[in-house]
């Protein structure tokens, strides 16, 4: 296995690109493209599972690293590596990609070749962002992830797709260019594009103005992607118009890129600026939690509701990251010790817990919201509407669908025993010790979440008496006429069950997953503490 390990990341990264090219070159019939794509996507999934086991968590740090010269004039290299933070996210990416391809094979019948080509390209770019340890490489993958998603929304999306796709592209592009300027700033300060080396060199250390400028450049890029309040306005449109698999990937992985960037780049590279601006991050996160939840309650479109719930749930991630950032440096830690009268160790544990909560929330949100978007897609294929007022009493008609939706929705509101609970617990436990008022404010969001999940989704759609006059034009998933709602069919169940199983698994026994995140959270905190 030695020789495999030395190139495994390159295979993992480029296989989806190869798949995409094969779709274009060899895709003679739709069914061949669909089958081939699903089979091809199993390789990256398998590799990412292998990596989870092969990663040596005792020694930690970056592993399976690869390096090659790319643009020697700029000192920019092809540098890949994985650690405890990126590994689970890569697994999430490959899992959701395979499930999306599988589900899409059942429902996409138009322009199949282009669709599967773009899906593979999207997977390529997302894996690239998680693997890249070089700023130029990172930026390249970051930007090209926009392009396939733009086309996925624009070609296979709903009625208003052109508008939504353009809005998505331009919002994220403006954020990315701000990040590009910050990257260039870091380059001129440190002379390298290597993310790890640049962080070790501490760009702009001691110059808070320039560090803040770079910090906000990166923050704009990441906040547009997360999306953090008030940069979230592209998200409801993009989600509502995107095809089901597009929404799943968008919510499941693309939003994580922003939070991942904050953890990978912002906190280690600009610790002082991070401490200085931490309250802002926490505040924006807490506001997003509460604001997003309130907006959900007011939605009449089921998909838009789930989309806004993403704004709310990604707020937890920001809250956790911001809280940990606030006590990262030795100075800030000493200050916190004085303020709260806790031991330094207790505060550090809280910070690590907040980081774990944030990372866990990233993973869980990918699983849970991915599942919810699949479920919305499943009902949309039958009802051809997402208007909440047209549904009601589906529990008796579609019991299987009801059961799965119930599980995913409860996971989303953080029911103990399901995945979402641990992330919320960790985040709030960690944040409460550091920023008690903002954390307390954020908890309002949990209550409101229960309102929209129980009232808007469960009660509105499933409970009560089924009234056929509300919606008369039901079809089966194949588009044939049906007298009423029909329950999930085979391929939909196969798509859903892995995600549901993951929710239970993580809900009951989160330790293996948390240990990956904890590894890198501790490393991050230790790295910042070790800086003088």
């Amino acid at each position: 296995m030695e020789s495999l390990d030395s190139v495994i990341l390159t295979i993992l990264l480029f296989w989806p690109l190869v798949s995409a090219l094969l779709v274009i070159l060899l895709g003679r019939s739709d069914s061949l493209i669909k089958k081939g794509s699903i089979w091809a996507s199993l390789l990256p999934l398998g590799l990412s599972i292998y990596l989870l086991f092969a990663y040596d968590s005792d020694s930690g740090g970056m592993q399976f690293e690869q390096f090659a010269q790319w643009i020697p004039q700029l000192n920019a290299g092809y540098h890949l590596g994985v650690d405890g933070l990126s590994l689970p996210l890569i697994f999430l990416t490959t899992l959701l990609s395979t499930l999306s391809l599988y589900y899409s094979a059942g429902v996409i019948n138009e322009r199949v070749k282009e669709y599967f080509f773009l899906m593979h390209l999207l997977e390529f770019s997302m894996i690239g962002v998680f693997l890249a340890l070089d700023y130029v490489l990172f930026y390249v993958f970051w930007e090209i992830s926009l392009v396939p998603m733009y086309f996925l929304i624009g070609i296979w999306g709903g009625e208003n797709r052109g508008y939504a796709a353009t809005k998505f592209f331009i919002y994220t592009l403006v954020g990315s260019v701000a990040m590009l300027l910050a990257i260039l700033g870091v380059y001129f300060a440190t002379g390298t594009f290597d993310i790890v080396e640049a962080a070790a060199a501490q760009p702009f250390a001691g110059n808070l103005t320039l560090a803040s400028l770079a910090f906000w450049g990166f923050f704009l890029g990441f906040a547009f992607k997360v999306p953090s309040f008030p940069f979230h306005t592209w998200l409801p449109d993009a989600h509502t118009e995107a095809p089901t698999a597009g929404s799943v990937i968008l919510a499941g992985v693309l939003l994580k890129l922003g939070a991942y960037g904050m953890l990978r780049i912002m906190l280690p590279s600009f610790p002082e600026a991070s401490v200085y601006w931490a309250t802002w991050i926490v505040g924006l996160g807490a506001i997003a939690i509460v604001y997003g939840a309130f907006v959900c309650v007011a939605q009449t479109d089921l998909k838009r509701l789930i989309a806004y719930s993403s704004v709310s749930h990604m707020g937890y991630v920001m809250l956790g990251i911001g809280a940990a950032a606030a006590v990262m440096t030795p100075d800030a830690l000493a200050g916190a010790v004085n303020r709260f009268g806790l031991s330094a160790q207790a505060i550090q544990d809280s910070a690590a817990m907040a980081l774990n909560g944030a990372a866990l929330q990233m993973f869980n949100h990918g699983i849970i919201t991915g599942a919810l978007f699949f479920l919305v897609g499943i009902i949309y294929e039958r009802a051809h509407t997402r208007d909440l007022s047209r549904f009601g009493g589906l529990a008796t008609k579609t019991p299987h669908f009801y059961g799965l939706m119930l599980t995913a929705a409860f996971a989303s509101l953080g029911l103990p025993g399901l995945a979402g609970f641990w992330a919320e617990l960790f985040t709030f436990r960690g944040a409460f010790a550091i920023m008690p008022y903002w954390a307390a404010f954020g908890t309002i969001g949990i209550v409101i979440t229960a309102v929209y999940i129980l009232y808007r989704i469960i009660q509105n759609v499933f409970l009560g008496e089924y009234d056929p006059s509300k919606l008369s034009h039901w079809t089966t998933v194949k588009g044939e006429h049906a007298d009423g709602p029909t329950d999930m069919v085979g391929f939909e169940k196969v798509t859903m069950w892995p995600l549901i199983a993951a929710m239970f698994l993580i809900g009951i026994y989160p330790t293996p997953l948390v240990s990956y995140f904890n590894q890198s959270a501790r490393e991050l905190l230790a790295f910042v503490q070790s800086l003088v």
Binding site: I71, V140, R161, I170, L173, V177, F188
Partner: protein, 501 residues
């Protein structure tokens, strides 16, 4: 060979132009005859020979050895050779693609391709000229041939308008420029760029106090900038550009917005960096202001266009603003990897292939459905998938999305601006990138987001497809692996910057 060898590219073009001109006297093929294409083929052949000569010069001149001078008025350095390679590549691609287009619209093939080679010759001279009179003559030569090419379709009113408008603006611009040159001559007593630089640095000494004849420098600089800015279509001298690009035959619009611009930037760079080195504190803010106005005006105007040809015309004005940003951030002392001049050259090179490609797509649509309106692009993916995909590559490159040449161009000019700490300039560039994305994406949206037109196919001529393919491959190649181009670029700029006193 001596000096004669140094000007080999120019000689080849001169001989080629005269040869086609004489051939035209003896043989007139008439409108639309296949044999009219033979002039195009000849022209492509001579341009290729000139390209080979320029590439050889790029390789033989050692960056350490310093530039060579031919007939005292032309500097043969890596900078000039790189610009020539860029220009000739664009001209060849345009020639191959545009042969059929011109042949169907005009009977005077011999004349057209004579002018085409002459215009290449003029640009080539401009790229090397180190004497203000030769610069003036080259620019004037370039202008006059361009006026004729822009108005070449005599029966077409739009083409006439294009030529006339270009001529009226252009003649004023060159008069203004000539006045600037005479001021400089009066102040320094020389027309050679390096002599002007030497005499200015003598007048100024170590002080930054402007005194005596140095006062003439600022007005002279502005007047010359007006003349060159006209050629490079910088705001506020760009008003001619959209009308001229839109009305000229598309092959002419293609080179006017790419090769001709590259020549103008070469002269701009040589003039400011060499002759005006002592006045950097003066021209940096001036050029920065021009850069901001140019990109903003170009982008805002492009937002509202419904003709794709016109939209690309305005977009190429905006692109000139980005290129200028690189020139603003030139570091004359201690050149670094991300020097502004590197940015200018890399941007020009990537932009040339991208924009030639974009114009060739417009040409393809004109050839097949005879329209430049955006509605003609609706559902293009269904009718001509490869054309739509290639156009998307060009549009993404113009937007500055990675894995295309345009990205590294922007990367370098933004990088240069950040290096000099012109954060506001980079910030305005960032906002402009967002605005520009909007109108580029509008075309992508039309091409892809509908399945209309399924089943019909467009027959794009083979030669045009070949040119398009080359443009796409080069655009992507620079985006994926820019190392090779970066070597040429830095050799070129190091040599230009090394002569700065």
């Amino acid at each position: 060979m001596g000096d004669l060898g140094y000007i080999a590219p120019e000689l080849i073009l001169l001989i080629g132009g005269l040869f086609i001109f004489c051939l035209d006297l003896a043989y007139d093929p008439g409108v639309g005859k296949k044999s009219g294409l033979s002039y195009m083929a000849l022209s492509a052949l001579f341009l290729t020979a000139a390209l080979v000569a320029a590439v050889l010069q790029l390789n033989i001149s050692d960056p350490e050895a310093g530039p060579k001078v031919a007939y005292s008025m032309m500097t043969i350095d890596n900078f000039g050779s790189f610009i020539k390679v860029t220009i000739f590549s664009g001209m060849i691609l345009t020639t191959i693609a545009g042969g059929r287009y011109m042949n169907r619209r005009s009977g005077n093939q011999g004349e057209f391709w004579t002018f085409f080679l002459m215009v290449s010759l003029a640009m080539s001279i401009a790229a090397s000229a180190n004497n203000l009179v030769l610069i003036y003559l080259a620019i004037e030569f370039l202008s006059i041939t361009s006026y004729m090419l822009a108005g070449f379709l005599r029966e077409n009113r739009r083409s006439n308008e294009a030529g006339l408008k270009y001529f009226l603006y252009g003649s004023i611009a060159s008069a203004v420029m000539l006045y600037g040159i005479s001021l400089l001559y009066g102040a320094t007593g020389s027309l050679y760029l390096h002599d002007i630089a030497a005499s200015f640095s003598e007048i100024l000494g170590d002080s930054t106090e402007v005194s005596g004849l140095a006062f003439a420098a600022l007005p002279a600089m502005l007047l010359i900038l007006a003349g060159l800015g006209f050629k490079a279509s910088l705001a506020p001298f760009y008003q001619w550009a959209p009308d001229t690009y839109d009305g000229s035959p598309t092959p002419v619009a293609t080179y006017l917005s790419t090769a001709s611009k590259a020549a103008a930037f070469a002269v701009l760079a040589r003039f400011f960096i060499v002759a005006m080195a002592s006045f950097e504190f003066n021209w940096v803010p001036v050029l920065a202001a021009f850069s901001i106005i140019t990109m903003t005006m170009g982008n805002l105007a492009a937002l509202r266009q419904s003709s794709v040809k016109r939209m690309i015309a305005y977009s190429s004005v905006a692109q000139a603003g980005y290129i200028l940003m690189g020139l603003v951030a030139v570091t004359s002392s201690s050149p670094s990897a991300m020097d502004g001049l590197n940015g200018v050259l890399l941007y020009l090179f990537a932009y040339l292939f991208t924009n030639v490609g974009a114009f060739l797509v417009v040409m393809a649509l004109e050839e097949t459905v005879d329209s430049t309106h955006i509605s003609a692009y609706r559902g293009l993916i269904m009718r001509a998938p490869w054309l739509a995909v290639m156009f998307t590559v060009f549009l993404l490159s113009l937007t500055g999305i990675p894995l295309t040449g345009g990205f590294f161009g922007k990367f370098y000019v933004f990088g240069a601006a950040i290096q000099r700490q012109y954060f506001w300039l980079a910030g305005i560039g960032m906002i402009n990138a967002g605005i520009a994305a909007f109108y580029y994406l509008r075309v992508v949206r039309e091409m892809f987001f509908t399945s209309e037109g399924e089943g019909e196919t467009l027959e794009v001529p083979m030669a045009l497809q070949t040119s398009l393919l080359i443009c796409t491959v080069v655009t992507v190649w620079i985006g994926v692996y820019p190392s090779a181009v970066l070597d040429w670029v830095s050799n070129a700029s190091v040599q230009l910057l090394s002569v700065v006193p």
